[in-house]
């Protein structure tokens, strides 16, 4: 449709992935870590769709759909764990989880 060099798509994808990765490493709030994971998964999806449109195949979009499924399952389980954590500890700080016992 438009002529974007595939390297530019990959560079944008890598930039978004790095932003999400820095978020996962730097934030200690588990909710923000989940959101940063979403940004990372999204960046990977962008790379897949870009590659799929480069070769004019549907496989890139299929991989994106599978990533979407993974993200849905991950958010469901992650938010359930967060709700449990909020009930028990009244915060969602990930460092508190190092004191798990039993």
């Amino acid at each position: 449709m438009i002529d974007i060099p595939i390297t530019h798509v990959f560079m944008i994808s890598a930039l978004l992935f790095c932003v999400g990765f820095i978020g996962v490493l730097a934030r200690r709030n588990t909710l923000f870590m989940l959101m940063s994971l979403e940004v990372m998964l999204n960046a990977v999806g962008l790379a897949f769709v870009g590659a799929g449109s480069l070769w004019q195949e549907a496989d890139g979009q299929i991989m994106f759909i599978l990533i979407l499924t993974l993200a849905a399952a991950e958010v469901a389980i992650g938010l359930a764990l967060l709700i449990r954590m909020q009930h028990q500890r009244h915060n969602v700080d990930v460092d508190g989880l190092s004191q798990l016992r039993g």
Binding site: V19, Q56, I62, E74
Partner: protein, 171 residues
Amino acid sequence: MNIDWVFYFAALVAFIASIKVVTSANAIHALLYLVVSLLAVAFCFYLLGAPFAAGLEVIVYAGAILVLFVFAVMMFDLQGDNQPVLFQQSWLATWFGPLILTLTLAMLLAYILVTGATDSHIEVGVVSAKQVGIALYGPYLLAVEIASFLLLAGLLAGYHFAKSTSEGEHR
């Protein structure tokens, strides 16, 4: 007509919104910026010739997953960082950043639709939903089955973990 700059502009919007997701202090503001980031990436998908993926991104990601996020944050007060929820801030200050970014995306979309820049060679680079569906239920049928098992496992685990048990309460 050269509309390459629209793609880079949408990517820039996605980048700025993602940085605001990572750096913002309030969970609701971060979720708003995450919605903007997902919409911008959906715009990039559309420009890359993947309209089906763009629709799925808007419907499933920005529509369903983010609503789940907002629902959980507001229902269970998952603010984190031990700071009070600031919903009574100045109206403009709260909404200004996401509003500007979303208006930018809307103007880009209007530009694309009005100029009809994509109509002339719509046949060339687009991978249609029909192709995706045929491939999905042909060679990738096993992957679809595994994805359905993954979703079932997510459903069961979400129910199991979020269910309040009696021994978990008095701690």
